[in-house]
């Protein structure tokens, strides 16, 4: 705030200095300067002063008086002095007083009315910018949070997808292994059944053959035995053998 105050004061001083003029420096115009020079003119060797002296000098100059010519040239230089500018750096005291007073009044007005408004506007603008920055930070934080959440959900989705893929792969492997084991078991079972069927067929064939052979043999034996059993002596012998075996404790 103090830097701004000093900058404003410097601007005011510069404006006063640059606006200064020759006439302005003494507080009078060029015309009044010339009028004052004419009214107060006094020349060596010429009686009277003021406009009378100037009029006499003009007369003597026109008469060709050499001294009058020199006085005239000196008086012209004095008049030209009215046209010269005052000191560009240091103004007149009155100007400084008025300018300073105006500056103080202006500064007071500015501090009383303008600066609070400007300050308020600047603070509002600062607050607005701060709010905007805060909003931007908050939105950035929210965006970061959303992004983090999204990334987390994406990671979860990827993990879930990977888990599902692994699970599906495991299930496929399990199903494949199960099918393979079943197929192997079926093949083994079919082989076993086929072997059992072959073995059973072989046994059946052997049994059939044995049965057939035994039937033939038994048939032949029964035929022979039947003829023998028709013999009463054979029947008697069988009964006697039975009695003998019972007596001996045999059946």
């Amino acid at each position: 705030m103090s830097k701004r105050l000093w900058a404003a004061a410097a601007v005011v001083v510069a404006a006063v200095a640059l606006s200064a003029s020759a006439a302005g420096a003494v507080g009078e115009t060029v015309g009044s300067c010339i009028f004052d020079e004419l009214g107060e003119a006094q020349f060596e060797g010429i009686e009277g002063d003021g406009f009378t002296a100037v009029k006499e000098l003009k007369t003597q100059y026109k008469a060709g008086d050499k001294h009058a010519k020199e006085l005239k040239e000196d008086f012209e230089k004095d008049l030209e002095g009215c046209l010269e500018a005052p000191n560009p750096i240091i103004p007149e005291v009155t100007e400084i007083i008025w300018g300073g007073a105006a500056f103080v009044v202006l500064l007071a007005l500015m501090k009383w009315k303008l600066f609070p408004v400007v300050k308020n506007l600047m603070e509002q603008r600062t607050q607005r910018i701060q709010d905007s920055l805060d909003d931007a930070d908050r939105e950035r934080a929210e965006a970061a949070e959303v992004r983090a959440r999204y990334e987390a959900e994406l990671a979860d989705a990827k993990a879930e997808a990977a888990r599902l893929v692994d699970e599906a792969r495991d299930q496929a492997a399990s199903v494949r292994a199960d099918l393979q084991s079943r197929a192997e078991a079926d093949i083994a079972d079919m082989r076993e059944r086929a072997a059992a069927d072959v073995e059973a067929s072989k046994r059946q064939a052997i049994a059939d053959l044995q049965s057939e052979v035994s039937d033939i043999a038994l048939g032949a034996a029964e035929a022979v035995l039947g003829r023998s059993l028709e013999d009463p002596e054979m029947q008697r012998q069988l009964v006697d053998d039975y009695i003998a075996s019972v007596s001996a404790g045999q059946d």
């Binding site: 043999a217 038994l218 059993l229 009964v239 006697d240 053998d241 003998a244 019972v246 007596s247």
Partner: protein, 174 residues
Amino acid sequence: MAERSASYADAVAAVARAEGNLDVVSDELFRVARALEGSDELRMTLSDRQVPAARRQQIVEDLLGGQALETTTAVVSMIVAAGRSSDLIGIAREAVEINARDRGRSVAEVRTAVALTDDQSGRLSAALSAATGHQVDIKVIVDPSIMGGVVATIGDEVIDGSVRHRLSQLRDTF
């Protein structure tokens, strides 16, 4: 059924004892039972409830009249009239057992392909008595289906020395 046959047998034995001829009656009952075993037609006729009881009793009297004791004829006629013809074989077996027990002996049912001589019967009875440890009476049944040899049944024990049994064993061996 066995209990009912035993009850009938006890009644028959009581009647025969009262008449003093249990030994003969039981033997004749055994023969009647064998006749029923050998004749499906006779067994079915005596068991047919469509045939009047009087008719069935008449058949019994016609068959046994003059060939068996009146006591035997009477008890068989009573059993047939009671509709227990199918139990007659079991009743006869029980009556024979009761008669044997009364005399302190056992009964062996002996099946043979041909009839035994008295000598064979005596030796077989002696052999079975020695084998079982007590006196055995034999009841011979001629059964050609055993082909030859003897099958003796004493209570639950069967001593099978028949040719049919030997052939069966031989067939099982094959």
